[in-house]
């Protein structure tokens, strides 16, 4: 299994300091090459789950194994290296740095690569081609449409060859046509062997994944594998 979580629990404190449970004993296994949509209403805990899977947050209880390793107990430095090399993130708000060009934004993970790797010649251009933004490398995010910005974010997630792509509402800020284009891109990545976990509350987007997981009140209420739409 690429992802293996068991009995995961996570709670946050409200303004009064009272713990509010968000994830309540959740277990989930994801094999390499799966395309999983995680659906649920607002506050159901789907984004929190994604943050834990992406090593941006730690569970209060439970076990998290990534590719067989107990990453839940790793020190921050090691978890940062894991995020850098093996996990790619795509967010609803794109989170591109406005003062960097498209190429520099895609290149960003290399800044924090502790192996001292540099992108091979033409690698960024290749990624730009893959996401359909050929020739736009010198532009700044402010000069792009929302769909184009999200494609840059996908290219950034892939630049160091991440096996797992975690996408949190990646189509939330896009119109239906553009959103469809981004999901097509994810499907192509899955075909190339990547694992994609996509959080959405949009059933139409969710329907494009091969496995649909529904979270309700911090627990998995449904987990179905479906044929490709």
């Amino acid at each position: 299994m690429l992802i293996d979580v068991a009995d995961l629990e996570k709670s946050y404190r409200d303004r009064q300091g009272t713990p509010v449970p968000v994830i309540k004993g959740l277990s989930l296994q994801v094999a390499p090459g799966e395309f999983v949509a995680i659906r649920g209403s607002s506050g159901s805990g789907k984004s929190t789950l994604l943050n834990i899977l992406g090593c941006l947050d730690r569970p209060d209880n439970g076990r998290y194994r990534f590719d067989g390793e107990d990453v839940g107990s790793w020190p921050e430095r090691r978890r940062a290296a894991l995020r850098n090399r093996r996990i790619g993130f795509v967010f609803q708000a794109f989170h591109l740095l406005p003062f960097l060009t498209v190429e520099q934004n895609i290149d960003l993970p290399y800044t924090y690569n502790r192996d001292g790797r540099r992108p091979p010649a033409g690698h960024v251009q290749e990624l730009l081609r893959l996401v359909g933004l050929e020739g736009m490398g010198k532009r700044y995010p402010g000069e792009l449409s929302g769909g184009q910005e999200q494609r840059v974010a996908v290219a950034r997630a892939l630049v160091l060859g991440a096996e797992l792509i975690l996408a949190d509402e990646p189509t939330g800020n896009l119109d239906a046509t553009t959103a469809g284009g981004v999901i097509d891109l994810f499907q192509r990545l899955v075909e190339q062997g990547k694992t994609v976990l996509l959080v959405t509350h949009d059933p139409a987007i969710s329907a494009r994944a091969r496995r649909q997981v529904v979270i309700e009140e911090g627990r998995i209420s449904s987990d179905q594998k479906v044929g490709q739409a």
């Binding site: 941006l56 995020r83 993130f89 708000a93 989170h95 993970p109 800044t111 924090y112 690569n113």
Partner: protein
């Protein structure tokens, strides 16, 4: 390795936001510029003051008539040859003590050319004591004193103004309508803050001055040469001289002195065109700019951290550790401080140079005055202050929860 990548990330941020960078740099620029200019000015002023003291002689205690000296002109002479004799007998630690008479505005002419100059009535020792020997010819000798000889030595300004290109040696010059023969030309000494043009003077035997020029019994100045240049020795000498003259002039303990006794240190202090108070105020102001710079860095960079939550979150998501973020934000503040410090230093040096040029008399234009390596301690202190201030926003950035920072609602 990690420092290099965080440096490159910081450089990108700093260069991408010139407006914010300039805002952060301004107080640092002002502080360092002020510090550098102040130090340069102070050095020029101090050098001029030291030169003024040196022009009198660093081993001399000078006594002038009157309790105060206004614009270099003392009150009417009250000291006598008896005072000189009493000092010679009672003071310990001196090398030579001489009395001097002088007339500051004496008409002097050569043929159709004339001018008003200072005339010093001296003894042969004066040349050595005041370090003012003859460059050409001979200085006043004992024979000249004994014979009331009408001989004089002239300064270079007098030579230039009254003789032009002609050789003045053995020529006749009229001092207050009395003919004198030029027996020498004094060395050139230039101008000083304390004495003005030191070459606009003539020197005559002290006896001739009394018998042929001005019937003045009192001395205008007594000069005491110490055996050493040590300020402690000179201060002690000044004390002894004051005590003897008080007694000679029958001045009670609670009465002010009727003479002014000055050491080179006192001359330097009174010749300063900018007081120490102003100097320390300017340095204090520069320090204040440093504090303002630190506060601005904390506030603006701190505010920027809140605005940059998304950037910090995404950096964490793609592999930055909290240490990387601290380092990057701190390096950004360091770059701003260093850049501001460097620009301020250059502006300060330029300002010091311009002031030195513009007000030569006050600050003394000398390239060596403008910069001294130790001055860099001033800007360095401000830069360190600014970069320490940068630690606060850097630590705040570290505490940012990446999951929360990347949340769409944040």
């Amino acid at each position: 390795m990690s420092a290099a990548r965080n440096l490159s990330a910081a450089v990108r941020v700093v260069s991408a936001m010139p407006g914010r960078t300039l805002l952060l740099m301004l107080p640092m620029i002002a502080g360092t510029a002020l510090a550098m200019a102040t130090l340069a000015i102070e050095r020029g002023v101090s050098r001029k003051a030291d030169e003024a003291a040196e022009s009198f002689g660093l081993d001399l205690v000078t006594v002038r008539s009157g309790s105060r000296v206004i614009a270099g002109v003392s009150e009417e002479g009250k000291m006598s040859e008896e005072d000189v004799k009493a000092l010679q007998q009672e003071v310990r630690g001196y090398k030579v003590i001489i009395g001097v008479r002088r007339e500051d505005k004496t008409p002097v002419s050569v043929g159709s050319r004339s001018g008003v100059y200072k005339v010093f009535a001296v003894t042969p020792d004066w040349a050595e004591v005041r370090n003012f020997p003859a460059e050409r010819g001979k200085f006043i000798e004992q024979d000249d004193l004994d014979n009331n000889a009408r001989v004089c030595l002239i300064g270079r300004t007098v030579q230039r103004e009254l003789f032009g290109d002609r050789d003045p040696m053995d020529q006749e010059v009229s001092i207050n309508q009395v003919p004198f023969q030029v027996k020498g030309v004094l060395v050139e000494r230039g101008a000083s803050l304390a004495e003005g043009d030191r070459d606009a003077r003539l020197v005559v035997p002290i006896t001739t001055f009394y018998n042929r020029l001005y019937k003045r019994i009192n001395l205008d100045q007594i000069v005491v040469q110490a055996k050493a240049r040590d300020p402690v020795v000179l201060a002690d000498l000044a004390k002894q001289v004051s005590a003897v003259l008080r007694r000679q002039h029958h001045i009670a303990e609670d009465q002010p002195e009727d003479v002014t006794v000055r050491t080179p240190q006192m001359i330097a202090e009174t010749s300063r065109t900018i007081s120490w108070t102003v100097f320390y105020m300017m340095l204090g102001l520069s320090g204040l700019c440093g504090i303002v710079a630190a506060v601005i860095i904390v506030l603006v960079a701190g505010q920027a951290i809140r605005a940059r939550r998304g950037e910090i979150g995404i950096r964490r998501a793609v592999g930055a550790t909290p240490g990387d973020i601290t380092q990057q934000i701190w390096v950004e503040c360091l770059i701003v401080s260093l850049l501001g410090g460097a620009i301020g230093t250059l502006i300060g040096l330029g300002g010091g140079w311009a002031l030195a040029h513009w007000r030569q008399t006050y600050f003394g234009f000398n390239p060596n005055d403008i910069f001294h390596p130790l001055d860099l301690l001033g800007p360095l202190f401000l830069v360190v202050l600014g970069s320490l201030a940068g630690l606060l926003p850097a630590r705040a950035a570290t505490r940012l929860d990446p999951a929360e920072a990347l949340c769409p609602s944040s």
